[in-house]
């Protein structure tokens, strides 16, 4: 069993609290990403799991064993650092063999284990080289090899792809997912890159301000963000978040803000009349027809689509996706609509809770609506 459990974890540095009462259970064999902006506490959480930092209070368990007082080398974990942290004076072979050496594995037994790991990561030709003679991608694979060689219970990966170029990052994402599938080990992956988290993880733990905002599979984090922060953080281009007012009119919730008024999707009992926020993904904004009238401000051409920013009122803009074949011109007047069935309503405030009722498979699609 290599279930990882964080229970009521608090981590303070003097008067600054980096992690506030974190409760998180990572199942055995799961690939979990800790995702959030800089300073959200994700790396601190990973370092506490690694034993490099100690929680101020709470407990961390790996495989039913509380490891708060266990040295990093005895936790049966392996970590890949953002900088790779390869020993510069050692060859690739010695780097990979080092954890085995420190655990007293005999020299004769180390060789086949290193060889097997090198074969797995296609490092065989590089075993005699020093880290400085390797490319970024090769160094990254050596760091992975050093983590893999002794088959730990849990792999910790601290932004391991952030130093690679975009093409290599894409390649390594696939490699890591494939590796996880093959090994079936628990992996905890820290990243601020939502694309990495979305494409690789079984579940994503979104953190902000030292607090866990949502812990759910990628699809759910995207489709049903727990609050306004998660909604705004996940998705590129970001979700349109429009502040306005919520009012109950004869049993139906209506949202209104300058330039846009619509009937809300079904909301929970937590919904109250007053300030609220409407969230609409750019792909749920229909451009070219509909009741909302606006003016095209910016058009970003990405090749396969155009991202169009439309001003619908003073200080209120809607971003929508359009096919690459229709190029909108800045300044052009445009009609648009939003797909209300996929719209989100959040309580007021920067971390306002999502007020929509949970989606069901058979939820009917509502008609597009607008001002």
């Amino acid at each position: 069993m290599a279930e990882v459990v964080f229970k009521d974890i608090v981590k303070s540095f003097g008067s600054f609290t980096a992690v506030h009462g974190l409760n998180l259970t990572i199942a055995e064999g799961e690939f979990v990403s800790l995702l959030g902006p800089s300073g959200c506490g994700k790396t601190t959480t990973l370092r506490m799991l690694a034993g490099l930092d100690f929680p101020t209070s709470g407990s961390i368990s790996i495989g039913n064993r509380v490891v708060n007082d266990v040295a990093p080398g005895e936790r049966d974990i392996a970590m890949v650092f953002q900088s790779y942290a390869l020993y510069p004076h050692m060859t690739v072979y010695d780097n990979i063999a080092y954890p085995l050496k420190k655990r007293g594995v005999r020299k004769a037994d180390r060789a086949p284990m290193v060889q097997k790991t090198a074969d797995l990561l296609q490092l065989t030709e590089l075993l005699r080289r020093k880290p400085r003679q390797l490319s970024g991608g090769q160094q990254q694979r050596v760091a992975l090899g050093r983590a893999l060689v002794r088959d730990p219970k849990v792999f910790l990966l601290d932004e391991p792809l952030s130093n690679l170029d975009a093409k290599l990052r894409g390649y390594m994402r696939v490699e890591l997912v494939e590796l996880h599938r093959r090994l079936g080990r628990t992996m905890v992956y820290v990243t601020h890159d939502q694309l990495e988290a979305m494409t690789m993880s079984d579940r994503i733990a979104v953190m902000e301000g030292g607090k866990l905002q949502q812990f759910a599979p990628p699809n759910e984090v995207y489709r049903e963000p727990a609050n306004r922060f998660v909604a705004g953080f996940i998705g590129t281009p970001a979700m349109n978040l429009i502040d306005g007012t919520l009012a109950n009119e004869a049993g139906a919730w209506r949202f209104a803000s300058p330039g846009i008024t619509l009937t809300c999707p079904p909301l929970t009992d937590d919904a109250v009349s007053g300030p609220a926020c409407l969230g609409v993904r750019p792909e749920d904004v229909l451009l070219g027809e509909g009741p909302i009238r606006g003016q095209v401000q910016v058009v970003e051409q990405t090749g396969h689509e155009n991202i169009v920013v439309v001003k619908i009122a003073d200080g209120i803009r809607l971003t929508g996706r359009a096919g690459a074949d229709h190029v909108w011109r800045p300044g052009e007047t445009i009609q648009c609509a939003v797909d209300v069935s996929k719209a989100h309503v959040f309580a007021a405030g920067p971390s306002g809770q999502r007020l929509n009722r949970p989606l069901t498979k058979d939820q009917p699609r509502l008609a597009k609506e607008g001002a």
Binding site: P72, G73, K102
Partner: protein
Amino acid sequence: MSTVRRTPLERQYALIGSLLIAPTVLIFCAVIVYPLVSAVYLSLFQVFTPTLEGSWVGLENYRTLLGKNEFWSSLWTNIVWTVGTLTLQIICGVGMALVLHQNIWFRSIARSLILFPYFVSTVVAVLVWKWVFNDLYGILNHLMIVAGLIDFPVDYLGSMPNAMISVILVGAWKYFPFVVIAVLARLQTIPDALYEAARIDGAGPIASFWDVTLPQLREVLVVIIMLRAIWDFKEFDLIYLLTGGGPVTSTQTLPLLVYKEAFKLNQMGMASAYAVVMMAIMLVFMVIYIRRTRSEDDT
């Protein structure tokens, strides 16, 4: 064979560059090249120091010095002093740098205080140490008698091997801060991630030192050892002020011998020959140092 034609702009840049480095080259020639050539020239004469007049003797001075016991014994003393004090400087310097690299509460003040021996004037330092070592009223003898370690005062500077040990200890005390600073500067550039990776790989503090710290210090230690070896080899004032080369000539190193020949025996030609031989010995260290720094630049 193709010739590279320079553009007018390149020629202009080259001219400006030459003009900018010209003052440095001139000063270098005046204070380094001229004395060097002058020393070699003087070593070929028998020169009376007060008048700087003498006669051409060719390589006779070199033949004489190679046949003199005093030269060889001074060279041996020089090697003992250099190796002894350098070893202590490195051990104490690296040790102290490791301590000061830790997150201890008095780190800032300790880092400043540690420089004190290096900055204090040699004359002042020697006066203090002579007082400490004095066999009549020295505090060291007093403390050792009080502690019951000795029954009678020890003559630290007037007998062997005490005098050499004392000189080596004072030399190490005076110059180990240089090692501390250089090593500390290097220690601060070793990424924490390397230590953290070693901890996760199962290395304890001692294994981390051998497997992470020491390999990272190797390059800087080679440079420190080379520089300090050169500087210690030609050390004059500290030894001269502490023992004057005595008892008799027991702590007389080559620089003291050069001084004696030049200003006590008034044999400037002979003294120059000693100095040239010293320079030749130090050239070995210099060549290693230059090769080392060049290979670092290449990587």
